[in-house]
């Protein structure tokens, strides 16, 4: 059986920077430093690299990087990611000019930027090595035992690979059974109680008075110890929160209700 290893695509930019598209890593050759790019920024960079010299419109980047993953973001998010990329690239000479903005048209990597694309195939040891290893002590073994050992070893590897591939779905299924889902609200941080309500937020607000006024307007019965989860990064134009009778994920019926506020 022929084993095909992982294929890694790397780009070498201006012979100073190595970009690993799969791992979203930038490696600076001058000081041997590596930084991890945010995935959207990395994906934008890959599209620009793959279309070296061409102008890629904002719409194309938004569609391919965000919309294709079910996310709907505005141009600001794209510009923030491009800005992050430029900051990361600025550490090499002329790095700031690697990504060029073409006003009202999009972004491009100019043709004067040198880019080398390399595909690295990380294959397992070739069979020749295996033979050399088995046949290493010359003259000690006869041809027959060497062949037998080689046959058993190859067979063993085949069985091992086959068993691994077959066991993988079983492990996945078992993992699915025994792993409880992660409580979505466990990432929220508790802030000061508001008249008995335990208030949790995903982002610490500058002014918690606004949150308290929202809870008051909703008529949530804080006297009955409600758990209130407020999300700060609203994509909607109006605030909202979720109030629960019991803490979600504890086994008790959560009894949650969502509240939206239209101004």
């Amino acid at each position: 059986m022929e084993e095909v290893g992982r294929v890694a695509v790397v780009y070498i930019i201006n012979e100073a920077l190595i970009y690993d598209a799969q791992a979203h890593l930038l490696h600076y050759m001058c000081d041997d430093k590596t930084v991890t790019l945010p995935i959207p920024a990395s994906n934008c960079f890959k599209i620009l690299l793959d279309n070296h010299g061409e102008i890629i419109s904002q719409e194309t980047l938004l569609t391919r990087v965000w919309n294709a993953r079910g996310m709907n973001v505005n141009a600001n998010t794209l510009h923030q990611n491009i800005s992050l990329l430029r900051k990361a690239l600025s550490q090499i000479e002329n790095g700031r000019s690697v990504i060029k903005t073409i006003p009202k048209r999009g972004f491009t990597i100019p043709t004067d930027v040198t880019i080398q694309k390399k595909i690295q195939d990380e294959e397992s040891d070739p069979p020749g090595n295996e033979m050399a290893e088995v046949a290493a002590p010359p003259g000690v073994m006869t041809a027959a035992p060497v062949e037998k050992r080689l046959f058993l070893r190859r067979n063993g590897i085949r069985v091992f690979i086959a068993a691994g591939m077959l066991l993988l779905p079983l492990v996945v299924a078992l993992w699915h059974i025994i792993t409880p889902p992660r409580n979505y609200f466990s990432a929220y941080i508790e802030i000061n109680d508001s008249e008995g309500c335990k208030v949790f937020v995903n982002n610490i607000p500058d002014d918690s008075v606004i949150l308290q006024s929202l809870i008051k307007r909703s008529a949530v019965d804080c006297g009955a110890r409600r758990w209130v989860y407020i999300t700060g990064n609203h994509v909607a134009d109006y605030p909202s929160f979720i109030a629960c009778r019991n803490q979600p994920g504890t086994g008790l019926s959560p009894g949650c209700q969502s509240f939206y506020f239209f101004y």
């Binding site: 307007r217 939206y260 506020f261």
Partner: protein, 160 residues
């Protein structure tokens, strides 16, 4: 010696086949279990002195689903009852694409209809078959689903 090897190979093949069948069965069983969901959600929309209270029952089962929605407007006592069937597709990152199928609506008055229409997504009222709605559905615990838009929770739905 050769016979022993052949027997071992047969045994390995047989055990592998058994493991594969068991794995496929477990994966398909738990996948179908996790997809057949019925849950209840409550939400309120507060617009100055007006509060609209919604109760929803949502069912998903292998690509088909329905929503039963009951809403009441505190300002006018107007009531909306809606039953909507839809098809859905699960995509990567917990994204769910809902496609319109059919709706049955009962509302107490034409005014009530326009009130509710102002606050709910067009998907609930449309008759167009090509209308779609995108949401993310995250299983937060065994009994709780979080319906989201991008990274903001819209409402939570408790499994029955």
């Amino acid at each position: 010696m050769l016979n022993i090897n052949v027997n071992i190979n047969y045994a390995i093949a047989f055990i592998s086949l058994m493991i594969l069948m068991l794995s496929l069965y477990l994966v398909s069983y738990f996948r179908s279990e996790s997809e057949a969901i019925t849950c209840d959600a409550r939400l309120s929309i507060i617009d100055n002195a007006r509060t609209l209270n919604f109760r929803m029952n949502i069912s998903f089962d292998n690509g088909d689903g329905f929503i039963t929605l009951m809403a009441k407007d505190s300002a006018s006592d107007a009531v909306l009852r809606l039953r909507k069937t839809f098809h859905y597709q699960l995509k990567k990152n917990d994204v769910m694409v809902l496609s319109n199928d059919a709706s049955v609506m009962n509302f107490s008055s034409a005014e009530a209809f326009s009130t509710f229409k102002r606050y709910l997504p067009a998907f609930f009222f449309t008759t167009r078959s090509d209308m779609k709605m995108l949401t993310r559905v995250i299983k937060s615990s065994d009994d709780l689903l979080v319906f989201m838009i991008v990274d903001t929770p819209l409402f939570v739905c408790e499994r029955r």
